[in-house]
Symmetry: C2
Subunit: 470 residues, 2 copies
């Protein structure tokens, strides 16, 4: 019975979230290391016409954009009908990549503080070239090609049993607006003993990562989703577990921490389940596959597949040259947002406990009718208009406090320079706001519990990872 370890790990994660100093003396040193890594990994990414894609082409029967090996992914089309959200019906391109990838972080205690081994990883779509990424990012194709000599570093920790103590090991869903039910395995493994640090890798405390998340585009979406899965407080232990740490937090960080620890909430857990049940019972989501050439409202030029209205996103092609990756030149299709988005939580104290306003969304890639997302999400997909809560995030009124704001980009292996402003806006008396039936105020404990069961979408997970305690 491993009760002792179980009880101590959220506490260890919390201590790491408060540790400004670690292997890097501070976040500034950590930041310098990223920029240094970026300089050592130059990359040239050029937009090209689809005709210049190598081994990628449009499949005659369907019009789908596919790789000649049948591997990687496929850009296909879907027809969507939904009963939650507007528009109620449309067609769009979507990425079909049925594999479950691994997003794995190796963790270790160094001088008594939990550190995470992160990689300065180059991706074609990244705004700065490199971003801090998980120790391992691997698709099944990656790691089953053992004999081709490009097995990812540190992979064995995540595919061999018993290599460490499990802090996180969950399946989490990707962007439902752009992927057809794609999910990844999010893993954090606490390892005992020496771990070799390869070129391009370094140890960070959670506080350092959260400090870097305060800046634009330094930490990848893949890293953000894994970080969001880490529980800093065991919600079952309550407020006693955080008593001593609250004093070391910023005012807002303390409110977040208390919200993670308390059982008090505006809605009971049963009421939240009842709400999810109501959403699932009373709203259909119907997604029918159609070939990419068969979808209405989109046109293909030599260089892009774009919607007639120009909204949502477009499909483009790029040529990538990089001396530092195992493959030094390749071409691939990518998704590119048509405009920078805004992704934000409205938060407020209700009965002295910080709550965030989550909105249920039905997207083409949503596995079970709805998934919970941020209050506002005007990125890649559609956003309902005329909702006061969304307005409050996009144009905070006077008196509202901007608790977090930074540009963060989506996954740079699939999304080309796709950046959104991530925001957390705090209101006084937010509970007086008229909210629509697809929204509910949740405490951070309630969000963290639902997250563990795959009910929180990637945009909301990204925002959660940005919450700093200091």
């Amino acid at each position: 019975v491993s009760a002792t370890i179980e009880q101590s790990t959220p506490a260890g994660i919390l201590r790491s979230a408060l540790a400004d100093a670690g292997v890097f003396a501070n976040a500034g040193e950590a930041r310098a290391w990223i920029f240094d890594s970026a300089r050592r990994q130059p990359q040239r990414v050029t937009s090209i016409p689809f005709a210049q894609l190598e081994r990628w082409g449009f499949e005659p029967a369907t019009g789908d954009l596919v790789h000649s090996s049948g591997k990687f992914f496929r850009v296909t089309g879907v027809h969507v009908r939904r009963e939650l959200g507007r528009p109620a019906e449309w067609e769009q391109p979507i990425v079909d990549q049925p594999e479950i990838g691994i997003l794995g972080i190796v963790a270790r205690e160094i001088d008594g503080v939990l550190h995470l081994l992160m990689q300065a990883k180059l991706e074609p779509g990244n705004p700065l070239g490199v971003q801090l990424s998980p120790t391992v990012q691997a698709t099944r194709s990656n790691y089953t090609q053992v004999h081709q000599g490009n097995r990812p570093l540190y992979l064995d920790y995540f595919v061999e049993p018993g290599r460490g103590y499990v802090l996180v090991d969950e399946l989490q869903w990707e962007h439902g607006s752009a992927f057809l039910r794609k999910r990844n395995r999010n893993v954090v493994l606490l390892v005992d003993g020496h771990v070799p640090v390869e070129e391009g890798f370094a140890w960070f405390t959670l506080a350092q990562l959260k400090a870097l998340l305060g800046e634009a585009n330094l930490v990848s979406m893949d890293a953000r989703t894994v970080i969001a899965c880490l529980s800093m407080v065991d919600g079952r232990r309550g407020e006693a577990a955080i008593e001593h740490e609250v004093a070391r937090c910023s005012e807002f960080g303390a409110a977040v921490l208390r919200s993670l620890a308390t059982l008090r909430a505006a809605s009971t857990d049963e009421e939240l389940h009842a709400w999810l049940t109501w959403l699932k019972c009373n709203h259909h989501l119907n997604v029918r596959r159609a070939g990419l050439s068969g979808i209405k409202g989109w046109r293909r030029t030599d260089t892009e597949i774009v919607s007639d209205g120009g909204s949502m996103f477009k499909i483009v092609a790029v040529d990538v040259a990089s001396a530092s990756r195992e493959v030094t030149r390749w071409t691939q299709p990518m998704i590119a947002a048509c405009a920078p988005g805004t992704i934000g939580f409205l938060v407020t104290e209700i009965g002295g406990v910080l709550h965030a306003l989550l909105r249920a969304r039905s997207e083409p890639g949503t596995p079970d009718v709805v998934i919970l997302g941020p209050t506002a999400q005007s990125a890649l997909g559609f956003e309902p208009d005329g909702d006061e809560a969304i307005e409050m995030v996009l144009h905070p009124r006077s008196g509202a406090r901007l608790r977090y704001a930074a540009a963060q980009s989506e996954e740079g292996g699939r999304f080309y320079q796709t950046v959104s402003e991530y925001r957390i806006v705090e209101l006084d008396h937010g509970e007086d706001l008229a909210i629509s039936p697809d929204c509910r105020w949740l405490t951070f404990r309630q969000i963290q519990e639902m997250l563990r069961y795959g009910l929180i979408g990637v945009e909301a997970r990204s925002l959660l990872s940005c919450l700093a305690l200091r």
Copy 2:
């Protein structure tokens, strides 16, 4: 902030689970009421050839057994390939009923004790004709046909918002061996004030229901699955919450209650998630629809559709006559098991905490690769052989204690006289048993938490509902 109510409801449920006396003075009186109800609702069910079905027939294109209205359900076929369990590939008939039904129980405090309003409901497949069933059992077709005058009694509690305090409101999956991804809304609503008690309905304490579950076939599967969703202990509050009640339990009931309350466990919650993640990442389940006439290994006679091997189940047709239902005569197809099954948990104390051995199963109707079931389940589907844990349930060795044993039937509206022996077998030092990778020991707190998120199958939920504290 409704913290006070939230904290008090599991305690109220626990008190009800210990209350032998209620509106009925004891379980014996409650039992007499069921048999009296059975006498007042005679029913005649006769096996008939398929040709005598009215408004049901075999669709020419597919061979599917369908109703001429297109409503109710459809018996179709599937081809199944799976990587978890043997056989790895087969074809079978399956029921396709895409609607989400309501299984709703109205609850009320009477003289300070929580009571559940149950119905003595007649169903053609029930061994004794009537069984104690939820207050409301309704499909969407039932409750949207408002103008046809057969709107179910008490339905409004469950379709109108705000009629009570939510104790349970979750979607739960039906038999994956016989239904194609069918789920129901399981609801318990705590109502304040007077509730009229209609003919055929009565109030029961949870202890009385659990006493009746100690006997064969008195409580329906639909009632069992809802009862299993009721949390007697808030797992987050720990052992302090149950201190005073343990003394009022039987020896085994006390062990169950402590297991529901403690955070100690053989595996951490994170390890259990990692196990589920491993199962989902490394085992495919592929279910392809095929017409009923297109499935191999099955033949249709005048009176049944049966597999060549004779195993699994068969499809039959019945004629039903009953004076007490709103429709007094009808015919319908039903599923009938070919032999009585056994459904059982192996339980053992590990580190002083009671654990049950759950087995992950991949069935044609399983929504996401695996769902957790009992240790042994030789009912309707296949059962792997050669597993010591299964042997231990089917043929308990000397020294093993049979903590529960009773025949219980599956849902009588679809399953014809389909009865299994439900069993809980306790071993000493069960943790020394060699178990296969599809099995894990869980505490009852861990099971209850996963149950809330739809990860526990209907057979295991049935067994959990049978656990009595007295």
